[in-house]
């Protein structure tokens, strides 16, 4: 075979060689590609590139290599499949040794064309190392290998094994039968299903179908979740899947939903069936129907809840009186918590004086007897006593033996209080009814008196209530026997009657006037409709009314008379008023006349005086020389008379004017007034020695015009009566006397006898002869009138020959200028002439 042919051959068939590197090496049909890859001569040259030899070697080496590579692969497969093989490590080593040998052959082929002898050497080295190691391992194994049974032994063993197999087959068959039986039994008893790891149902038994109400066809292939009832929370299933997914058995109660929607409870055991490597392969669920049990439990729980939530205390105790159960009601009523009470003696609830009761109760219970609704007193935890109603019943076990007692206690403290309050209220109303002055009656419509109070009995003159109630016929109580029937008819129509007036007949026959309020009460009493009446005795009032009527009659007569009198009085009054008006008018007229008189005095009287005086004077002047001295003296007398008359008229006018003058009170400084008066009187003091001692006077509350008149008259008086004195001394001063201001004017004049002092202030009263002291007798009267008009008084102190002091009182000024006045006191005490 030529090089090219080899190459072709290579192209055609050696491509299956396992070493991929060979592919390009053979591209030039036996010629190395791009020359040799090393400096060594390829083995082919040893073969002289004789294609026969070359390919013989190459193919042989190739086949050897293929074979060598195949052997370890088979070995590994063998080892893996047959775990029971001993010395597996040696097998591994052997495999490696053969693999290395194969590789040396591959390199043989390679070196035909390439000459990589270093590589080939290395591979051979590795192969040698593995060979040595394998041999080394084999040596110690030899004795062990020798101990392995020999072929005959193996044969015998095989026969035994076959026999054994036969036996075991029988046993297995028996076991399978047993298993089937057990399965049957299981299916009879339990609800069984299997699912794959995804939960898809792979098997169900009849009971499963029966309880779930699905057909087997519906179930198998469906996910187990179709039975989920939503009763359980997600965590419940998480925990379950977590358990079984980890290869552990799960057990629990599951509520499932049947096809028709009904729920059923199953006690479930899920067993994961595992693969060889311990992973769940499928799950087997074995269940028992516990729906009834669950229902019973629910009922029991509900009952327990009822017991617990009851407001009544529900307590159980054993026959020794030790508390075994204690509900919330008991906690509330007695104050002990369940944990506090459990195990304690029932006696903790008994008040000291009733401790002995418990023994009796327990004795009853032991006999199987209960105690119903008996009211007693118990003690709370805080020591307060409470009224309770207790029912105690024996508790029996399933065999009927009494094992304890249940106590149901209800707090009736409040009920007791209400009861007592009601009794009290009833008592109060009874007392009220009994004590009221009004009569109270209850009777049937046909007149049978059921109840009455003592007031009623007394009103009708009976001695006792019993006697009154025993009177059979009600009509006898009426003066007019038909009246009762009338009253009943009215009452039937209206239901109530108020202020119904009637006349009863007392037992002694005397009439009693009454006013009644009546009510018809229906259907409250077994005696039928009842008439309730409140009766007030108005006999006295009736009498009083009669008397009143008579009195009223009398009164109206008197009133008539009174009216008559009144009319007369009115007439008289009218007359009186008329007269008053007349008088007033007369008085006004008189006043007017007086004024007119004053006016005419001032005007008309003065004019003739002036004429008389005037013509006398003319007569004197023009004809005096022709008259004898006697006639002249007469004329002078006429003139003197005229002058006096003039004075008199002026002073009278003054006096009258004071009367009419309306008082204008104001704070008045008195000193300037005095000074003005003194200067007015200047003509009087000419040619005379007069010493003035005028103190500073306080302000006075007075009419300045009128007070000036007072000073004028008094000072003029003083000047007049001091005329005989060589040196006249006139003092004016004041003093405070009980809130009044006393002003006084003192002179050292002739004075007067005090026995005439009462005449001093009278009009036209004079104490001196006109020849000695001229005067009209009006000046002091005017002074008195003015002072009196001011609310003050005036008086004089005098001693004949020594002098006179005139004093008068005034109100001090309202605005308090006393200080000013005091400051002014220092002025003008010096003499003036």
């Amino acid at each position: 075979m030529t090089h090219a042919a080899a190459s072709r051959l290579a192209k055609a068939g050696i491509l299956t060689l396992p070493a991929t590197g060979l592919l390009w090496l053979f591209n030039k049909a036996g010629q190395p590609l791009g020359g040799p890859s090393s400096n060594y001569m390829p083995h082919g040259y040893c073969y002289m590139w004789n294609p026969g030899i070359v390919w013989l070697h190459a193919i042989s080496d190739g086949l050897i290599a293929i074979s060598y590579y195949t052997i370890p692969a088979i070995l590994i497969y063998f080892i893996r499949k047959n775990r029971g093989i001993p010395f597996s490590r040696v097998f591994w080593m052997f495999g490696g040794f053969i693999l290395a040998c194969g590789t040396t052959h591959v390199l043989e082929i390679w070196n035909v064309w390439h000459g990589d002898y270093v590589l080939a050497g290395v591979v051979k080295g590795v192969t040698a190392a593995i060979s040595v190691l394998t041999a080394a391992m084999l040596i110690p194994l030899a004795p062990k290998a020798l101990s392995l049974p020999g072929l005959e032994v193996v044969n015998r063993e095989l026969k035994e094994q076959v026999a054994e197999r036969e036996r075991s087959k029988a046993t297995t068959e028996q076991a399978l039968k047993d298993l089937a039986d057990q399965k049957f039994a299981l299916d009879q008893h339990a609800i069984v299903a299997t699912t794959d790891v995804q939960g898809t149902i792979t098997y169900v038994n009849d009971k499963f179908c029966a309880i779930s109400k699905y057909s087997r066809e519906e179930l198998v292939g469906a996910n187990h979740r179709i039975l989920n009832s939503s009763h359980h929370p997600k965590e419940f299933f998480h925990e379950m899947y977590h358990t079984i997914a980890n290869g552990r058995v799960w057990r629990g109660d599951i509520c499932n939903r049947a096809k028709d929607g009904s729920l059923y409870w199953v006690d479930t055991t899920i067993v994961p069936l595992l693969t060889e490597d311990g992973k769940p392969r499928q799950y087997m669920a074995i269940r028992a129907d516990i729906t009834d049990r669950k229902r019973a439990e629910e009922v029991r729980e509900r009952l327990a809840a009822i017991v617990d939530s009851s407001d009544d205390a529900i307590i159980s105790k054993d026959l020794n009186g030790v508390i075994t159960a204690w509900n919330q009601g008991a906690e509330k009523i007695f104050g002990y918590s369940a944990s506090e009470a459990a195990g304690k003696a029932m006696l903790i609830l008994f008040p000291p004086e009733r401790l002995d009761d418990e023994a009796g109760i327990l004795a009853h219970i032991r006999k199987g007897e209960g105690v119903n609704h008996f009211e007693t007193v118990r003690v709370r935890k805080d020591g307060t006593k409470i009224e309770v109603s207790v029912t105690i019943s024996p508790i029996r076990d399933s065999s009927g033996t009494v094992v304890g007692a249940s106590t149901i206690a209800r707090d009736i403290t409040e009920r007791k209080q209400i009861q007592e309050a009601r009794l009290l209220a009833e008592e109060r109303y009874r007392r009220f009814v009994e004590r009221t002055a009004a009569g109270v009656l209850r009777n049937t419509l046909d007149g049978r008196i059921l109840e009455s109070n003592d007031a009623m009995v007394r009103m009708l003159g009976y001695d006792s209530r019993a006697e009154f109630l025993s009177r059979p016929r009600p009509e006898i109580h009426y003066v007019n026997p038909e009246e009762r029937q009338l009253l009943v008819e009215q009452l039937k129509q209206r239901g109530t009657l108020n202020d119904y007036e009637a006349c009863f007949k007392r037992r002694d026959g005397k009439p009693v006037w009454v006013v009644m309020s009546l009510v018809l009460v229906k259907g409250e009493d077994e005696a039928g409709d009842i008439l309730e009446a409140t009766v007030i005795d108005v006999t006295a009032r009736k009498h009083a009314e009669q008397q009143l009527a008579e009195q009223a009659q009398e009164l109206s007569q008197q009133a008539e008379e009174l009216l008559h009198t009144q009319r007369e009085i009115r007439k008289l009054n009218e007359k009186l008023e008329e007269r008053v008006a007349q008088r007033t008018a007369q008085l006004a007229a008189a006043n007017q006349e007086l004024e007119a008189f004053t006016y005419s005095v001032s005007h008309d009287l003065r004019a003739p005086l002036r004429h008389i005086g005037g013509f006398s004077r003319i007569l004197m002047e023009d004809f005096g020389s022709e008259m004898n001295p006697e006639a002249q003296r007469h004329l002078q007398r006429i003139e003197e008379g005229v002058r006096r008359m003039g004075l008199l008229v002026d002073e009278l006018l003054n006096l009258a004017r004071v009367g009419r003058h309306s008082l204008k009170l104001q704070p008045t400084v008195l000193n300037p007034v005095i000074e003005e008066v003194v200067s007015l009187l200047q003509p009087e003091t000419q040619d005379r020695q007069v010493t003035w001692k005028i103190a500073g006077l306080p302000e006075a509350q007075c009419d300045p015009v009128l007070i000036k008149q007072v000073f004028q008259n008094l000072i003029a008086n003083a000047l007049k009566f001091t005329r005989p004195r060589e040196c006249a001394v006139i003092e004016i001063d004041s003093r405070q006397e009980e809130e009044k201001l006393v002003v006084w004017i003192r002179d050292n004049g002739v004075g007067f006898d005090m026995k005439y002092s009462d005449k001093l202030f009278g009009v036209f009263q004079r104490l001196h002869k006109a020849e000695d002291f001229e005067g009209t007798g009006i000046g002091l009267a005017t002074v008195q009138r003015i002072v009196t008009k001011h609310g003050g008084r005036v008086w004089a102190d005098s001693e004949l020959g020594k002098g006179t002091t005139f004093s008068f009182t005034l109100e001090p000024a309202k605005n308090d200028l006393q200080e000013n006045a005091l400051r002014n006191r220092t002025i003008s005490t010096g003499a003036r002439s």
């Binding site: 006016y599 001032s602 005007h603 008309d604 003065r606 004019a607 003739p608 005086l609 002036r610 004429h611 005086g613 005037g614 013509f615 006398s616 004077r617 003319i618 005229v642 002058r643 008359m645 003039g646 008229v649 002026d650 006018l653």
Partner: protein
Amino acid sequence: MNANEIDILLVDDSQDDIDLTLHALRAERLANRVFVAYDGEEALDFLFCSGPHSDRSFDHPPKLILLDLKLPKVDGLQVLKRIKEDERTQTIPVVLMTSSKEERDRVQGYALGVNSYLQKPVDFEEFRKMVKLAGLYWLVVNQAPVVSSTPLAAEAK
């Protein structure tokens, strides 16, 4: 007596008072040109040239009027009022002479514009003194309005 040349118009109803007044005036040589009216009506007639005095001229009004308060027919205060209300006469000095000491008369008189108010004293000496003083004062001492007669004279034409 020429009614057009009058210095004083004396109005009084009392002949006594008139005589005494004239006596007093005469002593001072003031009584020559005096016209006496005996009541208020006559005084007004004289002043306003009416009634019996309608022939009188406005050209010569009196230089002084001595007026009593209590007068027949027209009261003194009424006369005063008419005099002081009328432009033609209001400049003539009017002296009220009365016996009355009544303050209200005085107040009313001044309110109506009287030029002087005199109370006739009872004593004749004093009376005489007073009349003399008043006459001299108003006719001699006092300066009358310059041409007091002019408005009246003008009106008369």
